[in-house]
């Protein structure tokens, strides 16, 4: 198996609170979209918004 075939990419969703700017990073879930409102902030109860969806490659 070549080096490139041994790479595993994990995808993450990065959430940010619109009010207190608190950030959370979790595993990507089907249906997640950038700039989508997803739940409430655990700190201030304001809306959480997806600001990034990205992949991290592990060799």
């Amino acid at each position: 198996m070549s080096k490139s075939e041994r790479k595993i990419t994990n995808s993450y969703t990065y959430l940010e609170c619109k009010s207190c700017k608190n950030t959370t990073k979790r595993k990507f879930e089907s249906g997640d979209c950038v700039f989508q409102s997803l739940g409430k902030c655990s700190e201030c109860d304001a809306d959480l918004m997806v600001t990034m969806i990205f992949g991290e490659t592990i060799e």
Binding site: S11, Y14, F28, G31, D32, C33, V34, F35, M52, F54
Partner: protein, 374 residues
């Protein structure tokens, strides 16, 4: 070891005994073989490497086709078995317009490309009783990936077999030079299938991601097919924001959109944000600024943008985010995603530096907006 008695003649086998004559033959025979059969030997060595790559291309095509069929069967509930229709799609070809007289060729190419897209979309739709635009766009993109991989495989195999059939070494040289680039693109396409199926943003989506955030809380209107626009304000300037309609897997039709918006709104400046292929040695996710319409593709959209900008005498500035072909079409990397904020800051700086208060600036986010809202 004593080197003082070293006999050069003996070493090269040019002595007068039988062994020396045999040694001479050992030197001469390979030279004769290489003079007469050198090209053929090179052909065998080169063709073995190319053969391995052709097998890989065949495997990529077959794997991505299986993944597409599996995705349709298990997630989209088709009304008929999709295999036959998918296979018939893969063999569709496009005859480009004749360019002996290039005058007026762009509308012809545009018509051809749009007809092909519309046809494919209709055919995809016909596989299901009910399907969302989001899924149609995804299946459409996945079909394009499999078709491209199949085309790579067929063309490479054709060139290889022709060179082998003709026993013509020079014929295989262009293929030998091109195959690393073909494989790089094929590898990227193969890896793009997974993120496309999951509806995740790709590196090419950085332009729509930058403009998408600027469009939040604005009233969006349809600008052209799968393209939206809205108005906003920044530092006393009116902003006209344009991007493909997310979260669908589409690049929209920004050229057509700009043709529709510009005559009524008369912007004083256009800023385009797009992903660009990085040169070897350049850093991924680095940002570069420049002039001109930053948009890829077959060229018809760029033609429209340049045309409408020239007619209305509007300067076009560009910001590009450098990346490899693989980064551009697979799941967005963290480095690229994190650049969105910095690009947005640079866009605002560009607006302040290149326009005055009371003026109108058009900002266009170019790229595939899969998984990115606005």
């Amino acid at each position: 070891m004593d080197f003082t008695n070293f006999d050069l003649g003996e070493f090269f086998g040019i002595g007068d005994d039988f062994l020396s004559e045999m040694m001479m033959l050992v030197w001469i025979i390979p030279i004769i073989i290489f003079v007469f059969y050198g090209q053929r030997i090179q052909l065998i060595i080169s063709s073995n490497d190319i053969k391995k790559d052709i097998s890989k291309l065949e495997e990529f095509t077959s794997d991505s086709r299986h993944k597409l069929i599996h995705y349709i069967r298990n997630n989209l509930n088709p009304k008929v078995d999709p295999v036959k229709k998918i296979d018939s799609f893969l063999d569709y070809f496009t005859v480009m317009p004749i360019d002996l007289d290039p005058n007026g060729i762009i509308p012809k190419i545009n018509h051809l490309v749009h007809s092909r897209e519309d046809f494919t979309r209709l055919q995809v739709k016909s596989l299901f009783n009910e399907i969302s635009d989001f899924e149609i766009a995804k299946v459409h993109n996945l079909l394009e990936i499999v078709t491209s991989l199949q085309l790579f495989h067929k063309v490479t195999r054709h060139l290889y077999l022709t060179a082998k059939k003709q026993k013509n070494f020079p014929l295989i040289l262009p293929l030998q030079m091109m195959i690393p680039f073909i494989m790089e693109e094929a590898n990227a396409l193969k890896d793009a299938v997974e993120s496309m199926k999951n509806g995740q943003p790709m590196g090419d989506g950085i332009g729509p991601m930058v403009v998408g955030e600027m469009m939040l809380s604005t009233s969006k209107q349809n600008a052209a097919f799968e393209t939206v626009w809205s108005k906003s304000e920044y530092a006393g300037r009116e902003l006209l924001l344009v991007k493909a309609e997310g979260p669908n897997a589409t690049v929209g039709r920004p050229g057509e959109a700009m043709e529709n918006i510009i005559p009524q709104n008369k912007p004083d400046l256009i800023i385009m944000i797009d992903a660009a292929l990085k040169l070897e040695g350049e850093d991924s996710a680095s940002i570069a600024k420049g002039f001109g319409a930053a948009i890829g593709g077959i060229g018809t959209e760029r033609f429209k943008i340049e045309d409408v900008a020239t007619k209305n005498n509007i300067p076009i500035l560009a910001i590009v985010i450098k990346q490899t072909i693989k980064e551009a079409i697979t799941l967005m990397s963290e480095d690229i995603a994190k650049q969105a904020k910095s690009v947005r800051t640079q866009v605002y700086e560009m607006i302040e530096e290149n326009s005055n208060t009371g003026q109108t600036v058009m900002i266009v986010g170019v790229g595939n907006t899969l998984g990115i809202l606005q």
